[in-house]
Amino acid sequence: MVRVSWNDAVLYGPKNKATELTRMETVGVLEKNTEDFIVIRSPKTTRKKDDSSHPNKLPDFYFIPSGMIQNVEVVL
């Protein structure tokens, strides 16, 4: 199992005048590590600011671009 901390892109709009990227955290099984992505199987992804789940229904795989990743750590 790994925990990936990463920064997601953010939509800017009249109701969300965003000024910073969204800090995310994905925990799951490291499925694949390529030049462009880390792929996580059985991922649980949360937005750090409100601890909300993204997406609401748990997906089977999450593709996190290498350029968004801040940190990867092994968790038990």
Binding site: A9, G13, E20, K32, V39, P43, K57, Y62, F63, M68
Partner: protein
Amino acid sequence: MSHQAAVTVVVTLNQTQKPILVLRGAKFEKLGMMREMTRQKRVDTVFRQIVTALTTAASSGQETLPGVLKWTPNLCYSIDIMVSRDIVMITWQDAAFSFEKSLPATFPEPRKTFGVIAHEAEDYIFIATNLYQSSQINDVVPVDGMLIPRDAIKEVKKMSELS
């Protein structure tokens, strides 16, 4: 007790020129010089001045400075300065997820987002995809757009360079 409302920071180009921005607590006043600087695209200079002024306030022992400092990133949107007028195409890699039970054979393709670069921060580029002309400031301001992490960006290309 908060002293934030009493904090005033004056931003000037240099000591001999008129103030371009006055911060009074949570409010700010935009002065004439700001528009001229916007035309000259000297945006970075403006923000350096803001940071310098706030840092100076910090060194003078303002207890509320952290509360003031957090206004800095907001200000760059409140004043709605546009960095460039060029329409660009940003090619970037977005995150994605899949509900397929087995690993998909193909991975997500990079996205292409078209718009105008409204602001460049250390860790992202803000591309405005919908703008309007404000008669109040006689300039265009972003309505919708996207903050894209810099390291996820593969290419930024002006539309005029596309064949």
